[in-house]
Every structure is written in structure tokens, then in C-alpha cells.
Symmetry: C2
Subunit: 358 residues, 2 copies
């Protein structure tokens, strides 16, 4: 039986992906050279579609990596000489910080208990931090940070670089790239693609910093350095052979999203999130893990379960619906439900109906 994946990524594939994949195979996209005009044109197409979808200005380049985790490392190597500052509100923001420690940066952090989020007013930015790392959406805890708070944080720290992890929410957050210096996501979340491609958006100021660090005492890495990525990007090429097929697919999915319109996608996401939160707030077997509405993720809904989560998950699976367990130590007492464009309101309603009978 074909299942519907409400998991937080890898997730349900966006319905049009099958047709795009078929076209790609018919056009032999898997065989074209990454130094060919055909590749340059599909890289350019993908960038143009992402610029429209996410409102990315010309000051920012769009680069490809193997994953978003790789981007964590690349940002730290290329944009931080000594000190980074991390807002930690879940396991993935924590991992970003751990990457910084592993790279021997001096790391500052402000941390919240699992399930709580940050507001602008409470954030204390250390004086010497060169970069502020925030996670728009925490896949692990279901916490989000509002974009208005992210923007305020940058405004009052204009000289520091602002990095936004939008892995499990893009294209939902309306980031203002005149403020956000760098952001990144992976395609197996809300873009509904198979995993294997990270997307790194980085602006002039990141590039300037990388160029500066390149001539310093520490190395900025050898593979996928920002200067090399950018030099190739100017002609819509990549330093090494990239995942050509997935870049093609991402361009097509972004085009599909643009046809629907980003405002419609955001509205539908909000409406579906409302349905899910209303359900878990009112059903005796469930309760929302994140208490404050403004910190509740619109794209990954985390619910505490009365029964062991494995029972709930098994029950849903009988109806062909796959939901995720809680993250790490919360595995047994929580479920996580992705609310991505690939699953529509009808499918969310069906899930609610099935969960209601648990």
C-alpha cells in the first residue's frame, strides 16, 4: 500500500516530482556535462525560480552542497574567524554550535529548554561574536523563531553576520535578505524532494569575509569554499560535479510553487497548521509540546502523546499514514507531524481523523 509520509524529512514527495523525474530521464539530464550550456541554463533557471519564490536579491548567490549540514561547516569556515554566537532551541541548532566547537571557534551560546523558543527582547549578543546563528524552525522540538524577531536582531547588530537555518521551513519564512546575510535549507523537507542536495544562499558580506579569511592564518577549507563557489556561480557552474538531476528537479518544484504563489503556500501552511494544533489541543490523547503559540512551528508540529508514541504511530500506519516519533529522548512520548506543501488540507484532515480514533 502506498503510504503518505507526514515525517519531518525525508518526507512525502511533492506530487509533481514523478512527472519531472520522468522528463529528466527522457531528456537524459543524468548524463549531461556540468560544464555544458544545458547545465548552466538549468542552474540559472533554478536560481531564478528560487529568487522569485524566496525574494532573494542579486546581492546574494545561490550555491549547492551535498546537504544542509555541510553548509553549517562551510559558513563557520568561511564567515567566522574566531567567535560565533548560537541561539539554541533544539537539537539542530545545538549541532550547528557543536560544529563550531569542532572547528575550534570560540562559541557563545544562549540556550532554551527543549520546547521553548526565543523572542528578540531576551537575546544577549556577545560583543565579539562575528556571526549570529539562528534556527528559524527546529525540526527536533517543533519550535520556530518569528522572522520579525530575526530581523530585529540583525537590525540591532548590523555589523555582525546573520545566518538563518531554514532547513525544515523554507519556503515558508518570509526572510528579508537585505538583513539576512546567509540562509540555507535542504530539499527533502518542504520542497518534497528526495534527500541529497543542500542549498546555500549567501550575500556579499559573507563573500567579503571569506575573501579576507582566505589570506589569514587559518584555512577556510578546500572543498566548496565560498570564493570558489561564487567564482563558478558567476557563470552558473559549480567547482565540482554537483547533483545535476536534483538541481533540475528543484528548479521545477520551485516553478510549481511560484505558479501557486508563495502567499498561497504560506496561507495554506498556516491553515493546515491551525487544523493540527486545534486537534492536538482539544483531543484528550494529545497536547501541544510547545506552549507559546508564537513559538509553535507551522511546518513541524510536535505533540505529546498520552499513550506511548509507538502505539499512535502504529495505529496511523494501519491507515497508510506515517508520522514521526519524538526526537532523541522524546522519542517515546511525542509524535512529530510535518506540514509541508506535499500534503494538502484533505490529507491533513484524514490524518486528524485517524489520530482522533487512537
Amino acid at each position: 500500500m502506498k503510504q503518505t509520509y507526514f515525517t519531518a524529512g525525508p518526507a512525502e514527495l511533492y506530487p509533481t516530482i514523478y512527472q519531472h523525474l520522468q522528463t529528466a530521464m527522457d531528456e537524459q539530464i543524468g548524463s549531461i556535462s556540468h560544464r555544458s550550456a544545458k547545465f548552466r541554463s538549468l542552474y540559472q533557471f533554478c536560481v531564478e525560480q528560487l529568487r522569485e519564490l524566496l525574494n532573494i536579491p542579486e546581492t546574494h548567490g545561490v550555491y549547492f552542497t551535498g546537504s544542509a549540514s555541510e553548509v553549517w561547516e562551510r559558513i563557520l569556515l568561511n564567515c567566522v574567524e574566531f567567535e560565533s554566537f548560537h541561539l539554541i532551541n533544539g537539537s539542530f541548532s545545538k549541532k550547528f554550535c557543536e560544529y563550531a566547537t569542532a572547528l575550534q571557534k570560540y562559541t557563545h551560546k544562549q540556550e532554551k529548554p527543549f520546547g521553548e523558543g526565543f523572542d528578540y527582547g531576551e537575546v544577549q549578543v556577545p560583543e565579539y561574536a562575528e556571526l549570529i546563528a539562528v534556527t528559524h524552525n527546529e525540526t527536533s522540538s517543533g519550535v520556530q523563531m518569528r522572522t520579525v524577531d530575526i530581523h530585529k536582531l540583525k537590525r540591532s547588530n548590523a555589523k555582525k553576520l546573520m545566518a538563518v537555518d531554514m532547513v525544515s521551513s523554507a519556503p515558508y519564512p518570509d526572510l528579508d535578505f537585505s538583513l539576512v546575510d546567509t540562509a540555507f535549507f535542504s530539499v527533502q523537507k518542504a520542497f518534497g524532494m528526495p534527500a541529497g542536495l543542500g542549498v546555500w544562499i549567501a550575500g556579499d558580506k559573507c563573500l567579503e569575509k571569506a575573501e579576507l579569511l582566505k589570506h589569514g592564518d587559518q584555512h577556510i577549507g578546500a572543498h566548496h569554499t565560498l570564493p570558489t563557489l561564487h567564482q563558478n556561480f558567476k557563470k552558473y557552474e559549480t567547482p565540482a560535479t554537483p547533483n545535476v538531476l536534483f538541481i533540475y528537479l528543484l528548479g521545477k518544484i520551485a516553478q510549481d510553487f511560484n505558479r501557486i504563489g508563495i502567499e498561497t503556500i504560506r496561507k495554506e501552511t498556516d491553515e493546515k497548521a491551525k487544523l493540527l494544533y486545534k486537534f492536538i489541543e482539544s483531543h484528550p490523547q494529545f497536547s501541544p509540546f510547545v506552549k507559546e503559540d508564537r513559538h509553535r512551528s507551522r511546518t513541524v508540529v510536535v505533540a505529546n502523546t498520552q499513550k506511548p508514541s509507538s502505539e499512535v504511530i502504529a495505529k496511523a500506519k494501519e491507515s497508510g499514514l506515517v508520522v514521526g516519533s519524538g526526537y532523541g529522548q522524546y522519542k517515546d512520548g511525542q509524535i512529530r507531524i510535518a506540514n509541508f506543501p506535499a500534503t494538502n488540507a484533505e490529507q491533513i484532515s484524514q490524518l486528524i481523523e485517524v489520530l482522533g480514533r487512537v
Copy 2:
């Protein structure tokens, strides 16, 4: 018109890939969690098939990255504290060395003119080099280094780590992994897959070195460090979300290769290479770029062209056959013909016939 790609990678897709991709989509492989039993089982399957195909012993792990270029960096970060030694016989071995310089290693190199290869007897290994980097097959120049020479080199330098770039030849070279400490390839060459997955084979000694360096003054990177990859590999998992779909496909292609048998694949490769070299040696419009037979690549054949290569390439394209141009400065006066399992003897004969009429 459907074309046949004789390019050195991205290359012609292996004929069974379409069916495997269809099965993968039917089984929703693009949506499964990389922390699920299903993923662990397909990672294990892929490793088992590769162990059989390439004769990889249990002392060596099999890890996945975004590309083979990424593996260059990971080897240097994890296995070299101060000094590496590079045998340079083309543009890719040169890039490996440049990665080492970028990572602030002290790099030793021995270099050959473009189109010439190395024999064991002439190699002078510097005393303090911790790692010897050789390129089994140079995609740029069509030069190979015989595995017997690679093995001798390790035998007389037993304490140094031996790293073999087999990007554009695997599974052809019969490497002895009791001697080779680490080797790597990417899937868009002889495995006939779309680009987007690097495969890193690394043994105990590499891991020991990485564990040692981890506690030293320099960092070994944060993403895809060997200790983290290995820790996850022990349960057939990966540190971050990998390209699940391509790992699935690689396992299936490796299984197809095993059904044919590696000896048959090597024999067919030799026979097709013989056809190609015989043709370019005897036809007045072509001549082999690599003079010494023992240095001639069996998987990427480079021919000098009398006419501008663009004319030759255009002529072949009229018949739906795509061959590559020369690399870099050799672009206009050479063609490169991949001889991978995806194109059979009949297709090679057809190519020869078409090129014969140029």
C-alpha cells in the same frame, strides 16, 4: 533523439537504472527516514555488494559523501597532520594536491608532463610524507597507473597511508585493500548513475590516524569526519541525511555488476579499450595522446585529432553519439571517449564507425 553519452562523467546511464529508479519511486525510497530499519538495510545491502565487487575487506568501512572532491578534503583533514605526497599526472591529481595546500599541509609532489604516467621505479617518496596520494585513472589526460605499481609503492612505504583516487575507473582496478588504506570514487562515471554521491572506502589505519588527530592542535573538520562517519557506519547509518535514493541505486547497480561478474566486466573493458586504441592508432585523423601502452587508461581514452575536435564532436553528434572534448588547454585538439560498462562493444563499434567517417 536519444543520445549515447561516451563522455567521461556525467556519462551514459547504466541501462538498468531506469527500472531501479521506477522501483525506488514505487517503494517510496525518497521518503523513508535515514534512521529507519529500511534505510539501514539498504545501506548494508549496498556495502555488501560493493565488498563483493571491489573485494573490500572488513577492515575497511564504506562511507558516503556528496562527491569524490569532498573525499579529497576529508582524507587530508582526517589522515594528514603535516605532510602529504602527491603523484601528479593530470588535472585531478593536481587538484587533490591543491586541496592539500589550501588546507595548509606541507605538500610534496612529483609531476609528469600531461599525457605521461608513473612507474613504480621512478617514484621518490619524501621521508616525512604521511600519505601518498595516487590517481589510478586521470580523467583529464587519459593516463592510468597500474595497480601492480601502486601496490609495490605501498609495500616499500608500509608506514605511510596509501590513498587511491579511482573516480573514473572503479570498479575496473583490482586494488588490494590489504595494501590500499583508502580509495574513493563517484557514481557518475563507470557506475552509470546521475552525479551526486561520493563513495569513500577507508581502513582501520585511516581511522586510527583521524582519532589521533582529533585530539591534536588542528581540527579535522566538523562535517563528515572519519570518526563520526565510522561511528554511524557501525549501525549502517550516516551522521547527516544522505542521498538515500542514490545509495539505493548504487546497491542495485553493484548487484547487477556482481551478477555479470567483475572479471567479465574487466575483460569486456579491456576488449573495448583495445578496439578504441586500435582505431585511433590506425586512423589518419586520430592518434593516441598517451604514448606508453601501460599508462593508457582503459576507461577514458584520449585521442589527438587532426581536425579541430569541435568538428569531430559535432559529426559524432549527428549520429546521436556524444564524445567529450580535451581537458582544459587540450580542448580543441583532443577528444575523450569514456569506456564504461554502460556502453557495450556494439555501441563502441558504432562509435568507431562514425568517427572513421570524420
